[in-house]
Symmetry: C2
């Protein structure tokens, strides 16, 4: 009687959110200590101090009216200026569209840029909601294997077909924590340029980078600096610890072929999905903190504590270079069974099946340090259970 596919999506929910809801329910029932919840990327470090000050100033002005559909002109100008100074990209405010967070950025851009049957290459593992968002745009997610979780250019080249319209990258990566190097991105750019010569229209490089500032080694490289036909999707959820406030943007590279037309399509898709005018208070407050981030050293300390202890226990991982995820090898091939076993001990770890690869779990370490400390005996018990 209703839309069956929506009922299905609503009852399945996302595996991550399912675990998160389970954890909330257990905590409500049995107290905070009932579980060690490593399920969701909900930042635990408070926003940077500048943010609280900016938010206070903005809310005291009491301006809550509509902005233009694409966002407040001064906010779009500030984002463009940030691209100029931070990355040397001659960004124009007219190519910046403020969105209601990362999911909105993805949905709008996919609807704008892709057509029925277009193929999008996505290095696996990947954020599972990509599949939902690409499906709504009528496009096909083509998972491409990675090599030790890094870009595998031969695999990417082999996956290109006549229908390939875009490559979607996510660095720092969710779920692996890998950060692509400048060298890796230049290699990808060369590959795309070669393929572009065989095509009427260039392949679009879509860079989903909500974790841009959360890196522990060399800073992230802006892909716009290596390849012209690039669109950056950004969210302030992770950098400013604002996951619940839904604020981000789409920035189309000025070097993109038909950039203005793509931006028109972005405006059309925003309208189509009911997404015009991102929340204005957070547009203003976020624009005052461009390039700032929560105290990443806390995440680094969490990572070091967790990774050190788990290594000692015999666990292994993908290179944890950024974001706040450890991608840990499960102790059996069936990652769902492994996750269930961990859950029975009170450890909430997301099985890798939903990320498009098998045999791993994602451990979100954006949690209070005491949760990590409390979890260590449980991880030890989990290891012991498999060794028994």
């Amino acid at each position: 009687m209703f839309n069956e596919s929506m009922v299905k999506r609503g009852t399945e929910r996302s595996v991550i959110r399912e675990l998160f809801e389970y954890g909330n329910a257990r905590k409500a029932e049995l107290g905070e200590e009932a579980v060690c919840d490593f399920s969701i990327g909900n930042p635990s470090v408070p926003p940077p101090p500048e943010f609280a000050a900016a938010l206070r100033e903005v809310t005291e002005r009491g301006e809550h009216g509509y902005s233009s559909a694409a966002g407040l002109p001064e906010v779009r100008a500030a984002v463009a200026e940030y691209f100029r100074t931070a990355f040397g990209i001659p960004m124009s405010a007219s190519l910046v569209y403020m969105t209601c967070g990362a999911a909105a950025s993805l949905v709008i851009l996919f609807s704008a840029a892709l057509r029925e049957g277009d193929e999008v290459l996505v290095p696996a593992p990947y954020f599972p909601e990509y599949a939902v968002f690409l499906e709504q745009a009528g496009a096909k997610l083509v998972p491409v294997p990675t090599k030790d979780f890094r870009l595998d250019l031969s695999a990417l080249r082999a996956a290109v077909t006549d229908r390939t319209r875009a490559v979607l990258i996510n660095s720092p990566n969710n779920p692996t924590g890998v950060v692509y190097t400048a060298e890796e991105l230049r290699g990808l750019a060369r590959l795309l340029e070669e393929e572009d010569r065989k095509k009427a229209d260039p392949i679009l490089l879509i860079s989903d980078e909500p974790y841009r500032e959360i890196v522990y080694g060399a800073p992230s490289v802006c892909p716009m600096t290596v390849y012209p036909d690039t669109v950056v999707l950004y969210s302030f959820s992770k950098s400013l610890s604002l996951a619940g406030e839904r604020i981000g943007y789409i920035a189309v590279s000025p070097a993109c072929k038909d950039a203005a037309t793509l931006f028109d399509a972005v405006c059309g898709a925003g309208r189509y999905h009911g997404y015009i005018c991102a929340p204005v208070t957070f547009q203003r407050a976020a624009a005052a903190c461009l390039g700032r981030s929560a105290d990443v050293s806390v995440y680094r300390a969490n990572r070091d504590l967790l990774m050190g202890a788990l290594s000692d226990m015999g666990y292994s991982f993908a290179p944890a270079e950024g974001a706040f995820y450890l991608f840990m090898k499960a102790l059996e091939e069936d990652d769902e069974a492994f996750s269930e076993r961990a859950k029975s001990l009170g450890l909430l770890l997301v099985p890798s099946k939903s990320f498009g690869c098998r045999g791993y779990v994602r451990v979100s370490y954006c949690v209070p340090r005491e949760v990590i400390e409390r979890s260590l005996p449980l991880f030890r018990a989990l290891m012991a259970a498999y060794r028994a």
Copy 2:
């Protein structure tokens, strides 16, 4: 090369937003006094004082993390409690989905409840984005004539077909300002119940009510009290003057057939469009102000001043019982030409063509009083131009 239909939607934009952007550009160029902008429903009265206090308290807590997909449990519970006390509806928190504003409420509910080819009856004139949002759900908007802008039950009955899945009402109405009476709604309910007897599944009554509290006579009736299969779509944009903050909700009547399944579909559609977790600060602050509204007496005074003066000049209108719109008869049949002529005088009035009827303009009087005062000589000049 991109999605053509999105490019088209992006370049056409909405007529209302087009006028709003034009007004902003003129003001930026020539100063505030360059135009009298009656184009958009951007509340001019500040939020009620309780709101500023609630927002201060919420922001000081500094909690910006994700909520559950459907919203914060305490906020959903507060909305359910409000339905119980204000309308006597035994609402459950499990049937309340917090959304990122009215547009999100519409998009999500349409995707959830409607299937390809379903017909939705909409009394005309109506909010033009309904057409865009129904189209994305694959459904067909069937405009139904009204009688002096009130529900015309014979016309509605004549429009029912085998494919009729829902009736979409909007009271207080945008663009007319009409508020449906309890008697009118009971008549509609009787009609639907008669038609339901001929169908396997009941027709859904979708009530889009962002203007619920902005009424100048008898208060609005909750349609859930007269018809079981009802879904209420709400936004705090107008009542709390938060148009730019994007916060609202979907409430499925507990009396709705298969209410829980419809709610699952709502969750699925929220996910599909990337809409999970409405902005949490505004979830919390709005929940603290349920049933409150900005000072409606200011809008009433605006209406009285404008309507009185325009009547004296010889203009006529739909009954201005609620919301903050005067639906004014154009001085020629071609409302677009009339709007252009008004624009040349600096008066921004939205032509009725985009609302699905001809020969009128919408005058949004949620503006500072001085704009109305400044506009009166221009309205007089407009009338004189037609009488000349």
